[in-house]
Assembly symmetry: D2
Homo-oligomer: 342 residues x 4
């Protein structure tokens, strides 16, 4: 029945991207253009990341009405790393509400110059997209939702959410990455102890369990295809475009997109918001979740990173995308004659 709806809509050109084929051929052109870039360095702080080929490059997209397109290495699993941050934040918002979550974590960029200052004026980490904030969000997932669950059940709980967000597509776990992250965790340990000293956590948190949980979320695997569905779920107000499942409440999605917009690309966030103007989140795996609200979600993946830890090909892809299409958040939808409205 679903298929009939898809087919009839295609027939009527009622899709959000009416000329989908033409659109995809343009996407492929951008993909190929970026393929020629051989800059950046694969993350090397743990051997499992360092081993990733710098040639991997995949782009998948999924529109809010379920049309899909993939090109390149879109079936190869990679660990989500910081791309998991907007998702754990989304779960926390969905379960606990914005008011509770933001008692513990702020809603603003930290300012590029002072990343050494871990906490804002209210003694909270600046936002859930930075490590300190994501560790706090993990503590909320552990302590406030169903405190009595075992550690295994808590992990399953988050895993199940990720699965629903991805329309039941590929979600895995890379235990070697988890163990490596835990061994190379000086900075995250420093952050966690510093925050506990400043009473940032819910009471009686077990710091070690909490950091393990955080590293486990970072060590979950996806591939471009499954991650593009997650992005599309965010583009679609929390309803998975593949399954129709209302995974997240609209308010939770709005808050996630707001902070992806202002804080999702490390120290490049302000510049990205200005020049690309789309909610996105990158990770040291080289992956990028990109959301075009009310239109589609994309996953870009290519391991070589620039000096600010964002995927070189991913950033360039986004620039090209908004150069051609009116996808920048503040492109005018009627009067932007130099841009295409797909």
């Amino acid at each position: 029945a679903d298929n009939i709806v898809l087919i009839s809509r295609a027939f009527l050109r009622q899709f959000v991207i009416p000329e989908f084929e033409e659109f995809c051929s343009r996407i492929e052109k951008i993909y190929n253009k970026c393929k020629g870039i051989h800059l950046g360095k694969v993350a090397s702080y743990i051997p499992q990341l360092e081993r990733m080929s710098p040639d991997y490059w995949g782009v998948s997209l999924c529109t809010i009405d379920g049309q899909r397109f993939s090109v390149g290495d879109t079936k190869i699993p990679f660990t989500m790393q910081s791309c998991s941050k907007p998702l754990t934040y989304a779960i926390a918002l969905n379960e606990l509400g914005s008011e509770v979550v933001h008692r513990y974590v702020g809603q603003e960029p930290s300012g590029r110059m002072f990343n050494e200052l871990v906490l804002d004026f209210n003694k909270r980490p600046h936002n859930p997209m930075v490590n300190a904030g994501a560790i706090i969000v993990c503590s909320l997932l552990m302590e406030l939702i169903e405190k009595e669950m075992s550690l295994a059940e808590k992990f399953d709980y988050v895993n199940a959410y990720f699965k629903r967000l991805s329309g039941n597509e590929y979600i895995g776990f890379n235990n070697a990455v988890f163990l490596s992250e835990r061994e190379n965790a000086d900075r995250n340990n420093a952050l966690a102890y510093y925050m506990r000293e400043n009473k940032c956590f819910p009471e009686k948190i077990n710091l070690r369990d909490c950091l393990d949980f955080y590293f486990q979320c970072c060590s979950m695997e996806a591939d471009c295809e499954s991650m593009s569905v997650m992005a599309s779920t965010l583009a679609n107000g929390g309803i998975c475009p593949i399954t129709g499942d209302q995974v997240l409440k609209p308010d939770a999605v709005r808050d996630v997109l707001s902070l992806m917009h202002s804080c999702g690309m490390y120290d490049y966030s302000g510049q990205f918001a200005f020049s690309v103007g789309l909610p996105a989140k990158s990770g040291v795996c080289g992956g990028m979740l990109v959301v075009i609200p009310n239109v589609m979600g994309l996953c870009l993946w290519s391991p070589p990173l620039d000096a600010l830890s964002n995927s070189v090909r991913g950033i360039e892809f986004c620039r090209e995308l908004v150069n051609i299409f009116n996808f920048h958040r503040y492109d005018n939808l009627k009067h932007a004659p130099n841009k295409l409205d797909p």
Copy 2:
């Protein structure tokens, strides 16, 4: 003839706000609710602002197809103050292009904690919405556009632009405010000298003339009605909805809206972007330019300010507005069942 177009569109309900009357009655309800708020303090650093009645409260809106609504004190002139910053920035972008302008001024919020640090890592002021950045923008208008114009011609040039942005509605100049601003300018003098020391300005700038020009831009007057048209011109990709005049290029408008979104509300900008999600700019006059891209522009005006220098009633109005309507930048347009789509 224009009227006939308007009438026929109204008949066909083809306006961006099809049920305009109902919409306006909701706006009026919010207006009245905010009227009951008696918090905040009128700016007092110069006597001309201090004398403003704390009871003034006006709201005007203008849709991109020219439908208009006003309630309260919408015909009383006030000086634009910082509400002029996005407009001078827009002129600079329009005339010089983004690339030239942003050699001199950044594109990112400064971070709430460190407003004492005037310059970013590239030795530029952080963005054109803060005083330092707006002073630089004024120097670009003076030095780079038509260097040989007299000071009077330069002022006329900017004035003419403001006039076009407002569809030729009320734009005035308050000389008493200008003179007072100039006398109470310790901070702006400090910023200007500091920036000249750091070679932030175009070469051979006359600092005194440049500051005068900046104070003159801040001392230009508008009323809620004329300012709502300016906001609407920004909502409409740079085409004035009243005159059809293409005042600004779409790219210039996109950049202005991006920075109003991230930096327009002083130290409340991050919070405002999160909870209201609309490009806006406030001034110590108590005015607020608010843009709902592709839909309408608003001007809110009420002199009493909160601790962060934003209009108390203005902020509250915006919160109510996005609570009721799906105007937040990241509200989902299809799946936000608790919100109205006007």
Copy 3:
């Protein structure tokens, strides 16, 4: 024989304080004046410190020629806490030399406003008088002196040094304090992990062992009498005035006194250097090591602390002392007619 020397010098009035009795009676007056102060709060972050009576108040002094005077609670053991920092620093200097030690730790005050910034421009902790620097110093004692020693031997090594500095007077260890410190170590753990991330430590340090060692140094006990001998050893160029033992080289002592002068009193250091002008180090135990170079050492002890963690009575005692005597580092020795030269 030593006694005969003392007696004959006394007879000849060749002591550094010729009128010792009169001097002591003035000291006792200051002691009594300060006894009447009932301000400040006993440190409460661990129960062992919290239990200390706020009435404890002791002053001991020992001149460089071995004359001694004590008044009040000078035989009650207390843990040295931060008073151990100049001593571990002195041992490191003595064994490794200034050049090696200061590859790992700076020599300057951190500036009052930015105690959140743990490291200086060279990525070293600012100085050995702050926690971060003292932790590094402990790692140098462990790793660079005799690496192959067992943990027990390393502790004995430091303990033996403390014993010699105090002329074999009371040095103990409070295991309950050690265990409490270790349990309440969020801040120190954060510092240590942060420094390891920034490669501040010698290679292959065991972080846990190093922190334990640091807490053990802080948990060593002294009383006013033994600590006044330590201070006097510093006043006397490293030679213990009681035993004649050359415990420290003169260069090591000079460096210790320099940094006690500029950094010894937490965020009050600059103010203390200005108004008291003597090298000193305070601890949360309420103790203060005070050195009058070439004259004497003092230990002041009173648990109630002011807002900057210095002993209230201790600070007041020092102010009175330099008001009466020409002990301020920059008092003129000939032309200070309003001050006594004892």
Copy 4:
């Protein structure tokens, strides 16, 4: 009569430097060693300084009992620049008392990392040795001492003080430097406006007059010989060793020396206090006032500056000096066998 005192003291070897001839020959050796250094750059922000020969190199000393020695270019006038800061501060202390002066200016180093932060937590400049603090001190001299004096009288007042400090030796004024300083004053203007905004000045200050006064103090000339007498007056508790005139009160001198010790050498102050351990003040003229309390004053002068704006030869001279003699503030006077006690 004075000469007879000098001669009889010399005969009795009662001088502070008993073997003066031998001492001077060692000073000359250090002088010659430093003469061979050809590093550093002459200040170039104004042409009058830029024109100074990099070969100029002079050392003068004056003991507290009036013995003198000079070698090199000690009769060539140079503008005092920042070397005037401790002197204007001394006058302010002497006339107004420490309590009044330090209501307006702090007493602590600013911390090396944050020279952009002009004011301390109490909204005062950090200390009188930095530009912001010295400008405030000038405003106190103008406004609080004899408010009704004309500008000319105020200048004469300070000039007369300098003259007395130097035992009536050469003090001049370089008007070309004054005019150049005033023309190149972006930073000082920025500081002054910023401080007036923050109400750092006495009320109703005329900012322009105050900055002029500050530049005039910086443009006063001395030569090595006259400046060594000034330094010696500070070494001698405020009594000029040449005239016997009590120019400054002992308490004022103590405060000046304390802050020269901690803040006199720009961003090198902490390092200088640690390794040299003498109160000193340098200026961009290449001059250095150096005080050995109770012993002598020195003036070192050589225009080439290092990256932190201190005279290259001057710094090296000081290092050699304390390597050979026990002049470091914390050298032990009895037990420093590797150092000479002249």
